[in-house]
Every structure is written in C-alpha cells, then in structure tokens.
Subunit: 190 residues, 2 copies
Amino acid sequence: MDSLKNHVLKLVQASDEALDLFASKLQRIAISKKRFLLQPGTQVQHEYFVLKGCLKTYYLDKKGNEHIIQFAIENWWLGDFDAFYNGGTGKFFIEALEDSELLAIDYNSLQEVFEKEPVFERYFRILITGAFIAQRRRILDGLSLKTKGRYLQFCEAYPNIETRVPNYQIANYLGVSAENLSRVRRKLKS
Amino acid sequence: MDSLKNHVLKLVQASDEALDLFASKLQRIAISKKRFLLQPGTQVQHEYFVLKGCLKTYYLDKKGNEHIIQFAIENWWLGDFDAFYNGGTGKFFIEALEDSELLAIDYNSLQEVFEKEPVFERYFRILITGAFIAQRRRILDGLSLKTKGRYLQFCEAYPNIETRVPNYQIANYLGVSAENLSRVRRKLKS
DNA sequence: TATATTAATTGATATAGGTCAATGGAATTC
DNA sequence: GAATTCCATTGACCTATATCAATTAATATA
C-alpha cells in the first residue's frame, strides 16, 4: 500500500489520520493475465489503483472492433468513470495484460473519505486535472499529427508502457492499423 | 455573476460566505468578436467562466494549420489548463467567436479559495471529472466512428454549439476537412 | 525440445478522406 | 443597397491508411 500513500503525498499534504482513513477503505485485489476487472453492462462500484501489473480499458463497438482508450501501469488510477460517478452500467472492458495487483475503493467509501478528509478532494482534483490535460494532449495529437508523430509522442510520453504492450495494441490505442504502424516503425529505423 | 453562483450550487452545497469569497476573487471581462483572450508563448494567469458569448481554444501547428480543441459557451469554464496549473507559457489561442462576457480568476486567488473554502476543491473536482469523461467520449468517438457518426454525436452532445459555430469550424474540431463534412451533411439530408 | 500460439511484417488492392480549384450564396460592412 | 468578405458546396484528383491474405518471427506451452 505504500505506493499509493507515496502517490498521495506527492500531490497533497495528508495527515497520518487522513491516510489511515483512506487506507481503511481500500480493498486489495489480485487479477491474473487475460482476466476482466470490469465488463460492460454491469454496475460499476469501484475505482482502482495499480500496485503492480498492466491493464487496458477498451470499448467494443457493434462490429466487434476493440478500441483501447487507456493503458494503466503501476501508480495509475483506472476505472469506468462515467458509470462510477454518474451511475448506470459500464461501457468498457478492463482487462489485465499482466498478472496484476490493485487497490479498489467503492463509491460510498470514497464519498465518506471526501466528507471526513477534504484533502482527498484536493488529491483527486489534482489527479484528474492532470489526466484531463494528458487527454487534451492526446486529442490534439490526434488532430494535428499523422501516425509517425503520434507514435513518437506516445513512446516519449509513455516509455514504460511502450515496452510492455504489444505493438498492435499500441496501434489500436493510436487509432491506426497494426500494419500501418509496422510500416511506420520500419521507416523510423532507417 | 448569478449564473456562476447557480452553476456552483448545482454541483456542491456552498455557504453564502464561501460564495462571497469566491465572488470577491472574480474579475469581469468583456471581449469582442475576433479578439484573443490568450495567445501562445505568454504566461497564463487566469481561468475563465463564460457568462455570455462563444469562444474557441485552438492550437496552431508549425505548418500554420489550426486545430480546435474546445468550444465554450455560456456556463463553461475554459483556459490553457496545462500552463495555468503547471506553469510555463501557454500553447493555445483562445479567440472570441462572438462578443463575450467572462469571469476570470487568477491562480493565487484560486489557491486561496481552495485553502479557505474546501467546498471549491469539490466543485472543481466534480467539474473537471465531468470534463474528463466528455473528453474520453470524444477520444472514443475519434477511434470508433467515421465522419458521419462523429458529426451526429457532436450535434447531439452540443446542439447549442452546433447552431452557433460555422460548419468549417465544426469540421476542424472533428478532425475532418470542411469539404468532407459538407458531403457527409448532404448525404444525411437525403 | 517440439509444438502451438501469438505477434510482426510484407505485398496487393481498395477506400475514406484530403487537397486544390472554382462557383454561388449568405452575411457583413461601408 | 452595393460591395466585400465569409462560408458552403461541388468536381477532379491524390494520398494516407485500411483491409485482405500470406509469411515469418517470436513467445508461450506441453
């Protein structure tokens, strides 16, 4: 659990009591490779913090095509946020790409933490603001760059993910075909 | 200023004192059509709330191509968040598409509000979480839909913007050419 | 180690959408 | 109300990238 505590302390000044309250609400989860943490159509009760491992969040469209909207590795939060915060059933699959260990917090517990220890309002505000900015960058890259530029940007922004995830999944995340990414990578070598 | 107060009260329960403190930090700004609220390369001191009007946030790439990352109308917050929160100079232009009235808050004032009235940590946390979810949806649409689907989704999600912004700017926002959007729209009519 | 599975690459072809250029209509501006 | 600027549309052509199919390479499993 220390990695989450450190993560919190990097963003806010939380007292020991606040951290203890938060810790008391967390549930430890292990999930093995290829298993699903979430599937669409179900209620979304939790948000997750990655202690160890690697996962992907993706949407499956009507034609059965997968669209990866997020990878998560150590020290990332992930979840189906729309369903978690706004209710209703989830839209996304979350699947482990490696054997992983997570911490989970359920909605009511999180609200209780917010009420009792407002420093966690700040923690999540800062966290989500950073995520918002990163997403905005991703959108901008999608608008302004071709495959080559988007791939280079991805490798620079997420070197730790680039080395752990197969290329065809990175292509999917970038919104291009695996074949196209392969050809672009070849050109980059020469 | 009432529209901002109402906006706050829709998301959180803020006391009159909290609202008054917040209001005391806000500065009223008028900006006329085609004028710039922000330009790249400058320090970003403020975030803005739209009382009236319509604006766009865009990036100008090396080739001189514009890429619109956000439209904002009444009751939207906008700004160059990366530069505002993380320092450094801005990357984006923000330009008024109509004569507009805004409220502005500067960084230090906002931090003071956060310190004194944590309910605003919550307000901005909820706000940015919603924006994050909307952006995630935009990314997903970009990955999974062709021009037609993206356009329909945009019109459904932002009917108030669709009617106020010229089509070629909507095309730009969607990441397609104006010509292509025009052809897609024609097919939709028949 | 052999086998099966998964991932990356390559070639050939098809297509959505980009780009360029021209036109006509709409909306501002003088 | 005339003139000018702005915007939407259309046609012709071009390009990046998707798709399909096959092969090779790498990785996992028995």
